[in-house]
């Protein structure tokens, strides 16, 4: 057995350049695959952070339509509902149209108790509550743009005309790994007050309502009860869990996400061709050797097993190094795309997939040469010139 292992090792490293190149190729492919899989996951990061005890009520037509603010009181009266907060998408850009991040106008006193994953310093939260033009900034966002407490953030919005300025009063931290702190919050009352002055017809409207519910009754029942309240009204509603709500955004760009996922398997096919080629060349050059082994009494199965073992060794080495490097590459990639992806979670599942691909590559690469070597007639093999 030891002899067998030894033979496999020596054979793999006999053609050093070729083996090195193949392994480098495998490393690149494994890395690319791992990175793409992680990018696909990153699209879903928002929905992983979403809670099941929060519902989102929005206008049934589409998110671009608002609902009258008085809906808040009607929703609050639905059994099972514990809290209702307004959240308006502001859609502003900071200094340059490229500097885009999420801003929401919320009624802070009811909104933040529903989001325990945002951790505030009590004194900062008080300061935020006292300042009408105050803003609460997530840690990730603060780091991204270098915002500090006391800074003034000027924003321009395509939805709400004019120049807006907000004072950073609080910087909140994430409670755990999945929490995304890339948003800015400010007071809905301030937004509404300004609208009353400049665009009366757009005041007193809510973009979405965030609805806190008891753990007990089922979310679908409460959702139906809320939507029934406003049936046949001018602004019918659609209520779903926060998770379903965030997933609906991913569904919109599903084609792209699916394409990235599909392409991640193409790189495996490419490397499969490269590894299969390496093994095919190896086997062809050594056909006379295999014949010799058989002449010495090695069973065809053993010769085939030897070639398969070589193919697997190649695949495992390449994929192994690739898997080890994946976290580093993901981190570097994330630092380059920090403006696009809030989270880039590297999960165990990705590593399993990488390992599975390595096994498939090894199998595909080795199977034809192994069969050829096992079935070669000793006479033909000995006569063969590589």
């Amino acid at each position: 057995m030891l002899f067998f292992v030894n033979l496999v090792f020596r054979n793999v490293f006999r053609a050093k350049l070729r083996t090195t190149l193949t392994i480098v190729g495998l490393v690149i492919a494994t890395l690319a695959f791992g990175l793409l899989q992680t990018v696909v996951r990153a699209w879903y990061a928002g929905s992983e952070a979403a809670s099941a005890t929060r519902l989102i009520t929005r206008n049934a037509i589409s998110l671009t339509f608002a609902m009258p603010i008085y809906y808040r009181e009607k929703i609050r009266a639905v059994p099972g509902v514990t809290a209702v907060a307004v959240s308006n998408w502001f859609g502003g850009t900071y200094k340059d149209p490229k500097n885009f991040f999420a801003q929401f106008a919320v009624d802070a006193p009811t909104y933040f108790p529903m989001y325990p994953e945002f951790v505030f310093q009590p004194d900062e939260f008080q300061a935020f509550m006292r300042d009408r033009r105050g803003a609460a900034i997530g840690r990730q966002l603060a780091d991204l743009y270098g915002f500090k407490l006391g800074d003034t953030i000027p924003l321009k919005s395509g939805i709400y005309p004019g120049n807006w300025e907000f004072n950073v009063r609080a910087i909140y931290e994430a409670k755990d790994e999945t929490t995304i702190t890339r948003q800015m919050y400010f007071h809905y009352d301030y937004l509404n007050e300004q609208l009353k002055k400049t665009a009366r017809s757009r005041a007193d409207f809510a973009g979405v309502f965030v609805v806190g519910i008891d753990e007990g009754p089922s979310a679908p029942d409460i959702s139906r009860a809320i939507d029934a309240l406003f049936q046949n009204s001018l602004a019918e509603t659609l209520t779903e869990t926060e998770k379903a709500f965030t997933l609906s955004f991913v569904a919109m760009v599903e084609t792209i996400v699916k394409a990235i996922e599909g392409v991640s398997y193409v790189v495996i096919l490419i490397i499969m061709a490269v590894a299969a080629n390496t093994m095919a060349m190896t086997a062809r050059e050594r056909l006379s050797e295999y014949a010799t082994l058989k002449a010495l009494g090695f069973k065809p199965g053993k010769v085939a097993a030897m070639i398969m073992a070589e193919a697997f060794l190649l695949a495992i080495l390449g994929a192994g190094i690739g898997m080890l490097l994946t976290p580093i590459v993901v981190q570097v990639f994330h630092s380059l795309t920090i403006g696009v992806f809030a989270k880039m979670p590297l999960v165990a599942h990705t590593f399993y997939l990488q390992a599975a691909c390595a096994v498939v590559v090894g199998l595909v690469a080795g199977i034809v040469p192994a069969y050829r070597a096992a079935s070669v007639k000793i006479v033909d093999g000995l006569r063969h010139i590589g």
Partner: protein
């Protein structure tokens, strides 16, 4: 003295499996490369075709999209009177005052998944300004009615929009009476209805946008200057083509960046494949190289022969990849354009420049992969090479 081409060609043919595997790897890379370029070309073609060079779009200053914009009736009337705008034979200004809203509709593949579709309310003039749009099934909506017509991409991608079915929004039922073909433009992804009915239904007091035909293609600057100087108006004016190009700039950039990054990474794998193949070709033919040198072929010819072999290998891969990619032209992709927050359908489009780029890309891969092995082959000493087994 050059090494005959048939020698190079036959060398590839002799090692069929290796050639097929190496070329296959390259074909996959070229396929991805071409597919991405085709997607971007398709997106651009759709949006360029959407805008007519004589038409301009006017929206509220800074609002960027029609959906976010609002133009009051009196403002629209002011725009209409501008002399830079063309008039019909009976003196009517060629201006269409429209309302654009987004309606989230269930997808045909999975009714639980919804996406935003542009619903455009327009007057009869709006259709005059877009002569490329024609009805392919059913009929056009009647002015002043609750009838709507859907673009053929909407008809293909969404549920509940067949002729005779009704959409319910804004407390009204809207009956689908026809399907229109927008001539591979962004209009294919829209639903059209009567502007005044929609204004009433949505309780809107503002139009979303004003589309106008210029009296002459060069009148844009004059129109812009006039509107900028009018304190009653706060609008952005853009040529229609520019307006639609701007709408998809970030989607286009995203596709291109992602695609190029992928192509570069993947090509590393394919180039390594080519290098392995060519190194092995050099190794197994050492004595042949010695013979060629002994026959009087200079080092440069040997270098060239192996380089050409590698380029040929890559070109075969590139051609296969391109042929495979050309089948994609039958596929239409539909996704949400994040800038306009609405669904947009576009097809993979193969252009001559993509063919050239893809083949060049494959040749570069062949060159990089085959260069070092070719150098190695050309540097061999005749005696050593001939002595090799």
């Amino acid at each position: 003295m050059r090494v005959p081409f048939s020698y190079i060609r036959r060398n590839l043919w002799v090692r069929k499996l290796t050639t097929a595997l190496t070329a296959g790897g390259m074909a996959l890379v070229v396929f991805v490369f071409a597919a991405v370029l085709m997607l971007d070309a398709g997106l651009k073609a759709t949006l360029v075709a959407t805008g007519s060079p004589d038409n301009v779009v006017l929206i509220r200053q800074g609002s960027q999209t029609e959906v976010q914009s609002g133009v009051f009736r009196d403002q629209a009337a002011l725009i209409e009177t501008s002399p830079e705008i063309a008039r019909s034979s009976d003196g009517q200004p060629l201006v269409s005052k429209e309302v654009v809203v987004l309606n989230s509709l269930p997808k045909i593949t999975d009714p639980n998944k919804r996406s935003n579709v542009v619903v455009r309310g327009l007057p009869e003039m709006g259709r005059t300004l877009r002569p490329q749009v024609r009805i392919v099934e059913g009929r056009m909506f009647r002015p002043g009615s609750n009838e709507i017509v859907v673009g053929n991409s909407v008809a293909r991608g969404f549920a509940g929009v067949e002729i005779g079915q009704q959409l319910s929004f804004a407390a009204r039922h809207w009956t689908v009476v026809g399907i229109f073909d927008g001539g591979k433009t962004a209009f294919d992804s829209e639903i059209w209805g009567d502007v005044e009915q929609m204004m009433q239904a949505f309780r809107r007091i503002t139009y979303s946008s004003v589309i106008a035909k210029l009296a002459s293609p060069t009148a844009l600057d004059a129109l812009k200057a006039r509107l900028d100087n009018d304190p009653r108006l706060k609008v952005d004016v853009k040529r229609e083509a520019q307006f639609y190009a701007d709408q998809s700039a970030s989607l286009s950039r995203f596709i291109t960046l992602l695609g190029m990054a992928l192509s570069v990474i993947f090509s590393l794998g394919a180039m390594i494949g080519a290098a392995i193949t060519m190194y092995s070709a050099v190794a197994t033919r050492t004595s042949e190289i010695g013979t060629l040198r002994a026959l009087g072929f200079p080092r440069a010819s040997i270098l060239l022969a192996f380089l050409i072999e590698s380029l040929l290998l890559a070109l075969v891969g590139g051609l296969i990849g391109l042929i495979a990619a050309s089948f994609l032209t039958v596929i239409t992709i539909s996704t949400t354009n994040f800038q306009s927050f609405s669904e947009l359908a576009f097809a993979f489009t193969l252009t001559p420049s993509i063919v050239v780029s893809a083949l060049l890309f494959s040749i570069v891969m062949g060159f990089v992969g085959g260069f070092l092995p070719a150098i190695k082959a050309s540097r061999m000493k005749i005696v050593d090479a001939l002595r090799a087994d």
